[in-house]
């Protein structure tokens, strides 16, 4: 049975590779190539550093073992929806006893890039610590016990949480967390580098209490067994190894109990949260939106912005970057009041999302197409939502930058420019959105999922062209702003006027062209937004 499950895992990996397009296959290979250096880095860290820095040897091994354990607990939770071999409910109809299922799932868990990288990294510990003789056996055993801890702990937690993880809300949250993990890793690396610099000046005594706490956790016990075996304290190493092995057994028992329960308990009905009947239009903008087709479309766009996990990731990331920018400006001497105007550039970049305004509708666009409503109103609604979000973002960023730099006089200029720039971008974006649309799938398990329509390259070219056109159109405004900041301040007023007038003209022209085209081509847009038909 275990063999079957291992083969199932291998078949899933192989078929996943076969189903994906060549770009995804290249991505997978690059992912593997990225994972192996990480494993190699872990290997070198465990193999070389403890010898070079004996003071921190134990603490380092404990920290690496704990990080690996936590990584194994966390990452499968986040990728649950993407890896079908992790979900015990998928196997519930097979005539299997929990013991058979456990051994199968355990061995299947040993197959893949992550287990391989973990084993490679842990092997560094054996190279770094193991002496020749009986200590070698204990060191190898400590590494294997640590590997089993990672695997069994991860599977046990997954099984316990499998029902919760299958819910749509958990998957949504997972998408947001996975995306923010990238930012968290980059921050950790930065902080880690500074900590390492401090560590050189630190006395080992300072970190001893921390090491003592980690040392009593199961991964810490395995780490202590490895280090003690390496230093010839075989009795202590044996005792620590036994304790860590006991932890593996306890986790295994927990896994077995949960698996037993999951396999025989009926699936509870999905618990869903009913939202208060606030109406389609968000309360905050109720007075700003018309109560017609345009208002309905704008309200739907704003609701999606708040509720779609991918869009949440977008504005969370943008918000964090803006905050980081403001903090950097605040902490450095680089605080010219005109920096407030960078809010306009940020909004320009954020609004590039509008180049595919129908993508989030996907095939649900049929509801708009069948309504018989004028596509012009539909486009105006989408533009209205983008304009509101863009103006709110630029206002917040400009005020924050003004608070840091003291450039309050630039705030109205920034808002005026932002309005003009947004209008200009939306004029171009309307044309691109109707002529080169692509669907953004409503897949809740994978942030990077794409639904191929076979037009990716063309869309990419069109969007690059659109960006170029926008830059050319904005060039006179940019020149006027530069003159205004550097030499002749009245040029800023002219820049505002030019931006607003030119923005409105470009928007009206773009809107007219795209609405006219859409009136005759709604079925074609619907086909482009429906991946199955377009394939």
């Amino acid at each position: 049975m275990a063999g079957h499950l291992v083969r199932l895992k291998l078949a899933l990996l192989r078929n996943g590779l076969r189903r994906s397009q060549w770009q995804q296959q290249v991505g997978l290979v690059l992912g593997a190539l990225g994972g192996l250096p990480l494993a190699g880095g872990g290997f070198l860290l465990l193999a070389l550093v403890p010898r070079a820095e004996p003071r921190f040897g134990l603490l380092l091994v404990e920290a690496v073992f704990l990080a690996l354990f936590l990584g194994w607990l966390l990452f499968p939770l986040l990728s649950f929806g993407g890896d079908t071999s992790l979900d015990p409910a998928r196997l519930v109809l097979l005539p299997l006893r929990p013991r058979q299922l456990m051994s199968g799932l355990f061995l299947a868990g040993c197959v893949g890039i992550a287990p391989l990288c973990t084993l490679v990294a842990l092997a560094g510990g054996v190279v770094g610590f193991a002496p020749l003789g009986p200590g070698l056996v204990l060191a190898v055993a400590a590494v294997l016990v640590q590997f089993a801890l990672c695997l069994v702990g991860s599977r046990a937690l997954l099984t316990v949480l499998s029902r919760v993880l299958r819910s749509r809300r958990a998957k949504d949250l997972g998408i947001v967390l996975v995306s923010l993990t990238g930012i968290a890793i980059s921050v950790t690396v930065q902080v880690g580098a500074r900590m390492a610099a401090r560590l050189e000046r630190l006395d080992a005594e300072t970190l001893r209490p921390l090491g003592r706490v980690i040392g009593w956790l199961p991964p810490g016990l395995a780490a202590r067994a490895l280090v003690d075996a390496g230093q010839g304290r075989l009795l202590a190493a044996t005792a620590e190894l036994a304790a860590a092995a006991l932890a593996v057994l306890l986790l295994g028992w927990w896994w077995w109990r949960s698996l037993d329960r999951v396999l025989v308990t009926a699936e509870p009905p999905a618990r869903v949260r009913a939202r208060p009947a606030a109406g389609l239009v968000p309360r905050l903008v109720r007075r700003l939106l018309p109560t017609d087709q345009r208002g309905a479309v704008a309200a739907k766009e704003l609701r999606y912005l708040a509720r779609h996990p991918r869009l949440r990731v977008g504005w969370l990331t943008s918000g964090l970057f803006c905050l980081a920018g403001v903090v950097v400006v605040g902490l450095t001497d680089w605080d010219h009041p005109a920096l407030v105007l960078t809010a306009v550039a940020v909004v320009f970049l954020i609004t590039q999302n509008s180049l595919n305004q129908f993508g989030w509708d996907g095939p649900a666009y049929w509801a708009n197409a069948v309504s018989g409503a004028d596509p012009r109103g539909d486009l105006v609604g989408r533009n209205l939502a983008a304009m509101l979000v863009g103006l709110a973002t630029s206002a917040m960023l400009a005020v924050a930058l003004a608070a840091v730099t003291g450039g309050w006089l630039y705030v109205p200029v920034a808002l005026c420019l932002a309005f003009g720039v947004l209008a200009m971008v939306l004029g171009v974006a309307d044309v691109i959105s109707v002529r080169f649309p692509y669907p953004v799938p409503e897949v809740t398990s994978n942030l990077w999922a794409v639904q191929g329509t076979g037009q990716g390259c063309l869309v990419g070219l069109a969007q690059t062209l659109a960006l170029t056109v926008e830059c050319v159109l904005l060039l006179p405004v940019a020149v006027l702003v530069a003159v205004g900041v550097a030499a002749w301040p009245p040029a800023l007023a002219i820049a505002c006027l030019v931006a607003v007038v030119a923005g409105l003209v470009v928007w009206r022209v773009g809107l007219g062209i795209s609405a006219r085209w859409l009136r005759d081509h709604q079925p074609e847009l619907l086909v482009a937004l429906s991946p199955r038909r377009a394939a």
């Binding site: 009913a274 009947a277 109406g279 087709q293 779609h308 996907g362 069948v370 018989g372 409503e442």
Partner: protein, 265 residues
């Protein structure tokens, strides 16, 4: 009638007229020339095996899929010459239920109503009644992405009915619907056609089509192989027998899969 309902002064003799409708996807001909007249107030059932071209036909008559050739008139308005005017007269429940997943049920109805130019107060009143009648009142504040398949069907039906269209196109409306809701929907549609509106629906459930429809069309391989009053099409047999006879029976003989039922496990 509210602002969303089309004027009925100049009424066409038929609710739906189709002439020479064709559609091919590459070499595969999905609809190979269809002629059809459906009178007002009719409950019309479109049946056929999987891949017969029913969904493609419904897509073309509702203005969602451009035909290669042919003419479609809804309530006297040519769908492909004046799409907005034709679309104002129809309501559609599509087969694949692709909805705005991140809106709640109530928000989805409001969105559809405002999109069709209905006054907000009318939208609110009708949406509340439809949610109540279809048993969705408690789930009105739940996101559509969290709805079951049956609930999605019902909210899509509510969206199709909201503007009281003259012709209603429903693709498999009773699939995954519980018996109590199905009965409610049947009653609702019967009352609706009694008021002069027309319902065109596709289904695989022959008993249902036989019971509900006063006219029926049988599609096979992209052609309408039989069409007319239900009594005439079934000609003394059950509709299922007539359907199987017209389409041609397939499937297994008793000798095949003889091992079924012999399991000793």
């Amino acid at each position: 009638m509210t602002a969303a309902s089309p004027p009925t002064a100049e009424r066409s003799p038929t609710a739906l007229t189709v002439r020479g409708l064709r559609k091919a996807f590459g070499p595969k001909v999905a609809v190979a020339g269809i002629d059809l007249d459906i009178p007002h107030g009719c409950f019309f059932g479109l049946v056929g095996p999987n891949g017969a071209g029913k969904t493609t036909t419904l897509g073309m008559v509702t203005g969602l899929l451009r035909p290669d050739a042919g003419l479609v008139q809804v309530d006297g308005v040519e769908v492909w010459r004046d799409p907005p005017a034709a679309k104002r007269r129809i309501g559609v429940l599509p087969e694949d239920l692709r909805l705005f997943e991140r809106l709640t049920g109530a928000e989805l109805l409001t969105y559809n109503g405002l999109l069709r130019g209905m006054p907000p107060a009318t939208v609110k009143e009708r949406a509340g009644e439809l949610l109540e009648v279809l048993g969705l009142a408690e789930a009105a504040g739940t996101l559509v992405v969290d709805y079951s398949h049956g609930m999605r069907k019902k909210i899509a039906l509510a969206a199709a009915l909201l503007h009281a269209p003259r012709v209603l196109f429903l693709d498999e409306p009773f699939e995954a619907i519980d018996p109590v809701s199905a009965r409610t929907i049947r009653g609702l549609l019967e009352r609706y056609t009694a008021g002069g509106a027309t319902v065109v629906f596709s289904s695989h459930v022959m008993e249902l089509v036989e019971r509900l429809c006063d006219r029926v069309g049988i599609m096979h391989l992209g052609r309408l192989i039989a069409e007319g009053p239900t009594e005439r099409v079934r000609a003394g047999r059950s509709l299922e027998d007539a359907f199987v006879e017209l389409v041609g029976a397939g499937g297994t003989t008793p000798e095949e899969l003889g091992w079924l039922g012999t399991s000793s496990a």
